[in-house]
Subunit: 727 residues, 2 copies
């Protein structure tokens, strides 16, 4: 089984761009704002040749190349078909080793002598408003550093290395035309690659970069769709050459809210980006090595290290930092769907973003209040409605278009499944994100500023339980009138079966509501809102008690939905406890504490669920988030693992623990690997069923706080303060 063939994002911070390669036999390359790796169609030529008489040995990042020469010559004599490949052969998975690190992706071959690495040297990014120019250029450069090397110390003749791109429809231009200090090629003003000019460096461009038939005065053919940098390492030497992949999109690229990439404030254009990438190359290497070392020393097993690394790569590829007259504008794109700041992803990215760029959480929450909040009515019956309260849209738009105020791109009317409204879900997400941000970042001023919004959220939660206080038990009973005739609210688990999709009387959502009340209680205490704090605490207790009563006496399971005799078993039953755990609210997770009875019942639920045939897939051994669906989501498995390993380590039987390997293999094989990190996965086959090229996997970031299991407070605090991968 080949475990090295998977695409990965290799991305700058906030550029919504990626140099995507890694899946065997597949082109890729420069991907600007694409929804799938398959949309980048560049052949990427990376490899070495030990002497001119030898074949090139190339990593498998291309399809058999064709020559475009015939388009010009019109002569049948030049075959339009595949070029004979006598000049190169492809390294198979047996020939190379691949190591995906937190901030790097490295391929080695030829007994480790050959190496190629793409770096993603992420750092803690302070509020962009506070960056000086030097910091901004280092942190926001839309560049992916890389290197290529060969150890020819034992060699008898020179070795050549190649890094090149082939795309007949899009010929690159020689960068030497514009800057003497850049050796490389670019596609218009938009993207390109470069190294430092050097006597060991040679440029090539033509219809066939391995055997250029036509050469102009400097040895290139600028109409040719293949370009490359060649490097020569004399016998007896070992050399590593720096490379940089750069992106640049100028002008206003978003609509609805018009904005330009933040980096355009600090860079004059692509050449400037590439030059910066080369001049800062050593520092980027150092930073990437630090991130790699932190993950490597983390204590996670190799499978979980891989899963977290792959998730981090895909998260950064989805980030987009814009700027307009109002200042910075933060966006995370929802993978292949490219919805903007989908709120049920924001709440999952929360933990990673708090460690690395907490202002992004804050800014997103503020934009939800300013533009994407709404106040609704609740459906009582077909003809009657009553006042509801505040909530927030599912997302802020799609594919660089911000939808109008108060409206998402996703939510539609008169539906009971996918594409219906998520009013309760997003209300909880604002509360959870806001309280977690303020507490983790210690930003009490911000919390004070949003005091009224928090109070309004509490009131809205209450009214959705029941407008009449005496009829409340803590659980959502009403749908937003936004759902329209016959419609009802859904949750983020919309595409699963009804066990998770329906919002009303939903176990997952009810426990998440409990988490929200716990956080509200603490937040109101911080704000000296004693009455509200007491109310929140009382509501949490009420809800916990209500929930405890929902267990099935005959089975010891909680039903996924408290109606119609539903008997699905779900792991996200405990998701709502992730927030109190993360924030170190020990009283909320103390098995002998206020929620002790509920926690014990949930513990039994989880222990029974983590069995083959229930929430462990009998065939694959992977975790299923619902016993009645084969659609399982990696990001949510990771989140459930965080809670379960902390609260119910005894539930982690051998089968449950062995699943780490299964989850990693899903991502490392073609079913998911062809689309970088995938979230929705068929638990039987390991094939992705949606949510490809997806950022949400960074919930796995929480794993770093679970192994081993010391006191939560001392364990979590440093992570939020020092932003290193080893907490």
């Amino acid at each position: 089984m080949n475990h090295k063939s998977f695409h990965s994002h290799h991305s700058p911070f906030g550029a919504f761009a990626s140099f995507t390669i890694g899946f065997d036999g597949s082109p890729g390359g420069f991907a600007q704002s694409l929804s799938r790796p398959g949309q980048a169609r560049q052949n990427v030529y990376v490899g070495y040749r030990r002497g001119e008489s030898q074949r090139w040995r190339l990593l498998p990042f291309f399809e058999p190349p064709q020559t475009a020469e015939v388009l010009y010559t019109g002569e049948a004599a030049v075959a339009a078909s595949v070029r004979e490949d006598g000049r190169f052969s492809t390294l198979t998975s047996r020939d190379y080793r691949r190591m995906l690190g937190a901030a790097s992706d490295t391929w080695r071959a030829d007994d480790e002598r050959f190496g190629f690495s793409l770096l993603s040297p992420f750092e803690r990014v302070p509020d962009p408003r506070t960056l000086d120019r030097g910091e901004a250029r280092r942190l926001l450069a839309p560049a992916v550093p890389a290197w290529i090397e060969y150890d020819n110390r034992q060699g008898k003749e020179p070795v050549e290395l190649i890094f090149g791109i082939g795309d007949p429809d899009h010929p690159f231009r020689p960068l030497s035309d514009s800057r003497a200090d850049l050796a490389g090629f670019a596609l218009g003003p938009a993207c390109g690659y470069a190294t430092v000019p050097d006597e060991s460096v040679e440029l090539r461009q033509g219809f066939d970069v391995f055997e250029p038939k036509f050469q102009d005065h400097r040895g290139l053919h600028v109409i040719g769709g293949e370009s490359a940098i060649l490097f020569t390492i004399p016998a007896g030497e070992r050399r590593r050459f720096p490379l940089v992949m750069g992106f640049f999109q100028s002008g206003v690229v978003t609509t609805g809210i018009g904005a330009s990439y933040a980096y355009t404030r600090f860079f004059a254009g692509l050449e400037d980006v590439l030059a910066q990438g080369l001049s800062t190359h050593a520092e980027y290497q150092r930073i990437a090595s630090e991130r790699d070392a932190e993950l490597n020393s983390s204590g996670l097993d190799e499978d979980r290290k891989f899963l977290l690394a792959q998730s981090i790569h895909s998260y950064y590829g989805s980030t987009q930092l814009m700027w307009n007259d109002d200042g910075p504008l933060w966006m995370v794109n929802e993978g292949e769907y490219r919805m903007i700041n989908t709120f049920d992803l924001t709440v999952d990215h929360l933990f990673f973003e708090l460690a690395w760029h907490p202002w992004a959480v804050r800014d997103t929450l503020e934009l939800f209040v300013e533009r994407y909040a709404y106040r609704d009515n609740l459906q009582v019956n077909d003809s009657e409605s009553i006042r509801g309260g505040i909530s927030f849209t599912h997302d802020m738009g799609v594919m660089n278009h911000f939808t109008p105020s108060g409206r998402s791109s996703y939510e539609c009317d008169r539906l009971t499944g996918c594409f219906s409204h998520m009013t309760m879900e997003q209300l909880l997400n604002w509360v959870l994100c806001a309280a977690t941000y303020a507490e983790a970042a210690g930003d009490l001023n911000w919390l004070k500023h949003y005091r009224q919004t928090l109070l309004e959220c509490a009131e809205s939660l209450h009214r959705r339980d029941h407008p009449e206080p005496q009829k409340r038990d803590g659980i959502l009973k009403f749908d937003s009138e936004r759902c329209g005739q016959g419609g009802s609210e859904i949750t983020t688990y919309d595409s699963l079966d009804v066990s998770l999709g329906q919002a009303r009387n939903n176990l997952y959502l009810a426990v998440k509501t409990l988490g929200a009340w716990v956080l509200l209680e603490k937040a109101f205490q911080r704000l000296d809102e004693r009455e509200a704090a007491e109310d929140a605490g009382a509501t949490a207790d009420l809800l916990a008690s209500t929930l405890a009563g929902k267990v099935e006496p005959d089975t010891g399971f909680f039903p996924a939905v408290f109606e119609d005799g539903n008997r699905s078993r779900i792991l996200p039953a405990v998701e709502g406890f992730a927030y109190p755990i993360y924030l170190g609210y020990d009283d909320a997770i103390d098995p002998e504490g206020r929620f002790g009875p509920l926690l014990k019942l949930l513990g039994r639920h989880i222990a029974q669920a983590l069995q083959p045939g229930v929430c462990i897939d009998r065939e694959s051994g992977g975790w299923k988030i619902s016993s009645t669906s084969t659609n399982t989501w990696f990001s949510k498995i990771a989140l459930a693992q965080y809670v379960i390993r902390r609260l119910y380590p005894e539930a982690l039987n051998d089968a449950a623990r062995a699943a780490d390997r299964v989850h990693a293999d899903w991502q490392r094989q073609a079913g998911c690997g062809k689309d970088a990190l995938c979230d929705q996965i068929d638990s039987v086959t390991g094939e992705s069923r949606g949510s490809r090229y997806y950022p949400r996997g960074v919930t796995a970031w929480l794993w770093l706080g679970e192994d081993p299991l010391p006191d939560t407070r001392t364990q979590e605090k440093p992570a939020r303060e020092s932003a290193s991968l080893t907490q």
Copy 2:
């Protein structure tokens, strides 16, 4: 045989953009700077439905659509396969009529009741430096107006019309989000379509625009990759609705010479373009109708009308007007190759551009002098070279990248065929374009400004004949040293066989040289450069005499190359006379005049060549520009026809005349039609062999000056002054 299935460019002036549709069963749509129609992958839905119970009847501009819903729902229940098409059927070529006009492309169906038309209302564009804002907005708007209509006066129930786009990878956004006066959709800031909001107009967006399952508060689903405008015409009414397709590319898009689109100076963005297109729609319709009427009344037969119309469409699609600190920057892209201002195309676009935007010729010539001129040495033998003279590069770059000063993207060293240098060819092209521009536009001041350049060109021509005056006979004998070791110059006919490709001793190039000396003689007279004028006249006479001696006594043919016993027969033998004819230099084309003997010999050559088996393809009946190659070029056929119909009408036997239909059918069938106007064509099969999506066909513009055959001077003058299609 289906003669309606061919792609056409539908393009604004100078936007390097096209809304390309027309080839049966093929998607297309918004194409920004693409090299082939096949790169635009939007399904275009255009059609009508007579009552809700009926199927939609759609023009064949799409592939069977698939639904993207499954990507979101992850459920196998929603088939990923082709949608059942019970809701629409496709109009076949038997069901619709298509009329391509000079400035319009119209489809009619349902007994003429249904109509859809894309307009290309081109006008005479004055020097962009002189345009006021209103003119600039009308003339430079990157917009393609269109209309859709139905005559429901006899109908009993409402009829619906649809215009929509389907591209799951690129969902459009509703324009109503940004402007209340636009009903339609846009793809980011880059392109879109709109009509005027009206109670008969409905918007749709979703995964399936014919049966949208999911609707938000306003009936759309913004994540859906299909969008459309629906129009309703009540029974008893006839209505035509305006549509506009718009493009917008902001920022610097060229490199080497950085520049932005000129229209960005006059438009704030896409919405502004669309609004302008709608508010000016009536005027655009009027202008398009005028252009159509002028061609229709021209006296050309239907086949030649079609060929000219199709050529004009592809020419405009290749035009690109930029602007930077130095002012306007004119570019014509070389079709699928996208080389910039290829000089051997400039000389062929000359006649069309002089009629419609003569400053474009002037500006291009100036840029060739300022940046793309060079002075070379000539190869004497392998080890010796001597001073040559001025010439110009083949092109100015490729795909929005301007190559460095003095260098083209195309020309390579040490070659004897394609991709070699074209030093002599481009020297002639500068002389011919400059003298023709100055004479036709009456711009003597410009000619004076370039006096030294013209003198330098004459000297360079002489030295390439022979550095020693006494050894000159007028014919090129030396290759530029730029060709490098073993290399030799080629001509624009590079991809044909050696009969046309080699520059030295080349019949085509020698007659073109004669044309250049004739124009130089007149130009120097205008400049009062008497000595130079006399020298040019004497050289022309010498060359004519030399040429007359090249005829083969045994056959009456001229050989294509005066060496190695070449016996290819070529039609471009007379191409060089196009310029004196066009400029009305009667003394140069008088059969009893100074070149009488040569003209008579060439007449016999042409009459013998225009025979099946020589330069008329035995199988297809089409013209072959060389008897020994099946690669024939439409633009050059058109140019040869212009000369032949004027000088040798008696050579136009029945077979030669019947070929118009053949040439038109080549472009109207799949072999060429799938790529809009194609230039290089296999004369046997009618399949394109290169030069697809190509602007050069506008040499056919000259046809308007050949039928009937009155005095040249009075016939040509008005064309250059009034710029109407009927001269």
